[in-house]
Amino acid sequence: MSAMADTTLRSGEKLRVTRSRRNVAWTGIGAVLIVVILAAFPYYVKSGVLVIMIQGLIVLALASMWNLLAGYAGLVSVGQQAFFGLGAYFLLIPAMHGLSPFAALPIAAIGGGVAGFPLWWLVSRLRTGYFAIATWVMAAAILQLIERFQSIGGGSGLPLPGLVGYNPAVLTADTYWAALAVAVLAMAAVYVLLRSRLGLVLTAIRDDERAARSSGARVGVARLLVFVVAAAGCAAAGGVEAIDQLQVTPVGGGGVFSVQWTAIMAFAVIIGGLGTIEGPIVGTIVYIVLQQTLQSHNAWYLIILGLVAIGIALFARRGLWGLLDEKLNIRLFPVGYYLWTPGQSRRRRRNGSVSAGTDVKAGSAS
């Protein structure tokens, strides 16, 4: 699990670099265990709970993707609903031609990723705020384009074919498993990407883009890769949403191209912890709790979510998980590096503190 490197100082002392201050094998096992438990849920819990869990898993997948974009690559996109919506339509179209919606889910993900390439080419020239609004315009333009095609429902959408006659309980369970698979794959993709060379490049860009560029880091390629992965992930989530709703509506309440999807994923990330892998999980839980408590009060949950996100962005920029991390130094999914000074070891000293050593956090673009 933990990549190690030995570096010898001039004095002959040895420096060690590991991924984490603690042994992380147990978190790996824990993560697998949690996924197994979650996968067994349909056999134990009521379908009402499953329905809420499906929404939560969709938001978790979206939040992981937005975290990768904004938290690690500094790309604040407010147009991710473009890919969410495209994913729903990339699932709808094969389903209309007789393919099972579940089998069409990979097509939706790949389609979203492929669409990411030309769209990246359009928006990549802009930075920060202008990039943000350009992605928003991009989403609006794609919506206008989709609405032109009457054969896929035009401006009012279509019910999703191919699931008629499905046993409702089985359908809910299958949808749940699909949502779980998408969420787990999204989180795993972020984790693997950040531990790969790309994670290093992104950290270098965060610290100093010009320096990274002149040291040969392929800044453009790194950002492109992040954008395309996020596009594919959001499209997969959009596909699951289409299956969950049994229909695809482009605009209006619950419309797949509504900017509220981006608001939800962004708020979940900011509340949970921007630039931390664990943040989206915490943020999604906060979102679901708020949404369930306030669901009878229409738009209030989004207003409160937005106000909380603004407050956290201003006063605790690494979110709830960041606060926890500062206090306890937990990192379930280490993507940074830890430098051990000679003589240090993983075992805690008797008198308590783990003592000096340099924590090199990955990601979190500022």
Binding site: A70, V76, L122, T128, A140, A141, W300, G306, I310
Partner: protein, 291 residues
């Protein structure tokens, strides 16, 4: 003749889009803030206008300075509190905070005023009056008035920035914040003034939009922010008169699109925007290159 008509209507609409855009452009030019809540604040101004007229029964023309004053004060206060706090924490936080503000305002309006559309009644015959050129071109006086208002606002902004004491302070702070600070200018106060001026234009944009058509909670982002941004990009980032040129290009593209097929209106505008982004990312009027 229908095409000539489309071009004329497009040019006139461009004035409205320039009104949308100049506040966004000003705030970016001075504070380097891209205010994602820009459109929603214009919608708020529209609702304030409706409210002022309903509550006080003042004639429409009297309500305009009231709304402008309210929005200008709101701009100063918002800049000194929330926006300044966000700016001092970096671009990423500023974007997140203004995006949050946008969503909160939009859903707040939805919650308190429902999704019903509202219009600003001028109480005069001007809103529906028009004159004709030839047999096929009919021009609404309202569009002409708004176009004229846009020109007056842009001239006023130009005079304010180049001629007045505060304008010079704003330009000094925008150029080099530290140097201005050393010379005794409190940049936070200057930012507040700039935001107040920008919000005053936002108020005019919101009222004008409410007069030409109807407003609802989503018009802030769906229309005003996106059109304002398209106008800014087409015209050239940071250029004041560029917003008018950008607005006109956008308006003409939309009207020509509508002429081809009524449902192509918005799409045509976005296509021109994306084309400019690809072919000439520095905008049509940019004097210097991007860096």
């Amino acid at each position: 003749m229908a095409w000539v008509n489309a071009v004329i209507q497009g040019i006139l609409t461009g004035g409205l889009y320039a009104l949308f855009a100049c506040g966004l452009s000003l705030m970016f030019g001075v504070m380097k803030v891209v205010n994602l809540a820009h459109g929603d604040l214009a919608t708020v101004a529209g609702y304030v206008g409706v409210g002022v007229i309903a509550a006080t029964n003042v004639p429409f023309l009297w309500s305009v300075p009231i709304v402008v004053a309210i929005m200008a004060v709101l701009g100063y206060v918002l800049q000194r509190s929330l926006l300044q706090a966000a700016i001092s924490r970096g671009e990423l936080i500023t974007l997140i905070v203004t995006f949050g503000l946008s969503i909160v305002i939009e859903n707040g309006l939805l919650q308190f005023f429902t999704a019903n559309t509202r219009g600003i009644g001028t109480g005069s015959s001007l809103i529906s009056a028009s004159f004709s050129i030839g047999s096929q071109i009919t021009i609404a006086w309202l569009d002409v008035v708004i176009f004229g208002l846009a020109i007056v606002v842009l001239l006023g902004l130009q005079y304010f920035l180049s001629g007045s004491k505060y304008g010079r302070l704003i330009r000094a702070v925008a150029d080099d914040r530290e140097a201005a600070q050393l010379s005794g200018a409190d940049y936070r106060h200057v930012f507040g003034i700039a935001a107040g001026v920008a919000f005053a234009t936002v108020a005019l944009a919101g009222i004008s939009y409410g007069m030409t058509t109807v407003i609802d909670p989503t018009s802030g982002t769906d229309t005003i922010l996106l059109f304002a941004f398209a106008a800014v990009v087409i015209g050239g980032l940071g250029s004041l008169w560029g917003t008018l040129i950008g607005g006109i290009v956008l308006g003409v593209a939309q009207q020509i699109g509508a002429q081809i097929n009524i449902s192509d209106e918005l799409l045509a505008g976005y296509i021109v925007f994306l084309a400019v982004l690809v072919i000439r990312p520095q905008g049509l009027t940019a004097r210097r290159s991007e860096s």
